[in-house]
Amino acid sequence: MLVIEGLLKRYPDGFEALKGVDVTIEDGELVALIGPSGAGKSTLIRCVNRLVEPTEGTIELNELELTTLNRAGLRRARRRMAMIFQNYALVERLTVMENVLSGRLGSVGFFKSLFRRFPQDDVDNAFALLEKVGLEGLHDRRADALSGGQQQRVGIARALMQDPDILLVDEPTASLDPRTARQVMGLLADLCEEHGLAAIINIHDVPLARDYTDRILGLKAGELVFDGPPEELTDDVLPEIYGGEDWSKEPSEDDEEEEDIRSSGQFLAEEVL
């Protein structure tokens, strides 16, 4: 269980990206975090694993207070939470296998990682995960020789390799085509269910969030303005999160289009602007 209380982040230039966020995420809960660009979504999940240092507030993962941990404690805590990135953030020159095994760095000593001597259990597990994410046989390929969708699958395998309690996912599908995006979200959802993982997924694609998650959080200018199941996220509440009034009467010429396609079109327009 992840409990965030009064989380405030003030960047060195004085800008408050988060203005006191309270939220609790249960074990195994799949949560989408939506909100306009600059709302503080990335800041929020980066505060959890302290790639960004929180200014005020507390964050507890399974009753362990994260904000006050020292370096060694933080390393240990980071093993329990894995992160997935929009731009995959693989080590491009290394092989797929090395990238997947890098998920174990928190648990393996320096020399073992220097000479890539990972325990046999880890290697077995990595092969199994590669199979699970649909990359069987690609373990010796260099990471930069994969397509975006494949790289993101490596990113997911690396995260699961950590055997974490929670996934912190920052826009996993933003660089992917719509179909690949669906596949990747579906994969994430399945794997979370299978491993009983909780996840916070930052995402701009509202229809995807609705389809694949249990709960949606809406963040706007550093404040939580929506928290509820996907059904409650209707077109009426979207303006509260994204601003503007003309949400449902968007001038879509094509009336026959399905609702979720229409709103994803609106999102594209928003992002471009």
């Binding site: 390393r75 980071r78 992160m83 080590v91 020159r93 890098s102 760095l105 320096f110 990682s113 690396r158």
Partner: protein, 272 residues
């Protein structure tokens, strides 16, 4: 051809690039000053026509000798000097490369804590402040004539060169990757070997090989001030006016640099 404006224009509008110094008087004053200085400077060198002719004579002699290199009469001196240079190069490059790694890491502002950064940057600034010749003179004065002073010179300048370039490479790496590795709970050293090293290693190898042939060429130069190696042999041959031997030594140096170039090219193609 569109109408009205071109018809009303009477003459073509002239354009010139604006001069760097707008004030014409200042501009001409500067030109005159420069020319006057050059005239005075040339005059002050006291060009001595007989000496110029003598020099041309010697140049002819030298170039004639260059076409008939003599490897034989001074072979044992040349060979000893050559091996000494190669040894100096090998030792200095390996030690220099090894030392430049920690210093380069410490001098990368995105990895090192502030005090370490400042110390390493200071070391780099000091090692880069002096030309190899100056360093060689200094170390010859400290350690006496011979290859040891040469090796120390080359180590110091290798650290300055590689350390700075590597630090700058590290500062330009893709940071997302480093954060991703950090997020797995990796330690600082694991971050370095897993996320930083793969990103900088090809260029690091390339630069080290490049430094290898710089060091060989430098070993020929610093020999002139007494720091051992083939340079010492070269100076001796010059002083004895044995231009055929000089030519042989130069050919050997050029050949070696070419060989290094070839080998390093082959290695670089493999690692990239």
């Amino acid at each position: 051809m569109s109408g009205t404006s071109s018809e009303t224009r009477t003459s073509p509008r002239r354009w010139r690039r604006p001069p760097m110094i707008a004030d014409a008087r200042k501009r001409w004053a500067l030109y005159i000053a420069i020319v006057a200085y050059l005239l005075w400077a040339t005059a002050s060198i006291e060009i001595d026509i007989p000496r110029l002719i003598e020099g041309l004579d010697r140049a002819r002699e030298f170039f004639a000798a260059a076409l008939t290199p003599d490897f034989v009469s001074r072979w044992s001196d040349i060979w000893t000097g050559f091996i000494e240079s190669l040894t100096m190069t090998a030792v200095a490059t390996s030690v220099g490369v090894a030392l430049s790694i920690p210093i380069g890491l410490g001098a990368a502002s995105n990895l090192a804590i502030r005090p370490v950064y400042l110390i390493c940057r200071t070391i780099l600034a000091v090692t880069r402040a002096f030309h190899e010749i100056i360093l060689a003179i200094l170390f010859v004065a400290m350690f006496g004539f011979g290859p040891f002073a040469g090796v120390v010179t080359l180590i110091v300048s290798t650290i300055g060169f590689l350390g700075k370039l590597i630090a700058e490479d590290i500062e330009a790496i893709n940071w997302d990757t480093v954060e991703a590795i950090e997020a797995t709970g990796a330690s600082w050293w694991q971050k370095v070997i897993y996320a930083v090293t793969p990103q900088v290693i090809p260029r690091f190898i390339g630069l080290s090989l490049y430094r290898l042939d710089i060091n060989f060429r430098e070993s020929a130069i610093i020999g002139i001030v007494g720091a051992g190696g083939i340079g010492a042999t070269l100076t001796t041959a010059f002083q004895r006016y044995e231009f055929e031997s000089v030519s042989a030594i130069l050919i050997l140096i050029i050949g070696t640099v070419y060989a290094f170039e070839y080998v390093s090219g082959a290695i670089r193609r493999r690692v990239l």
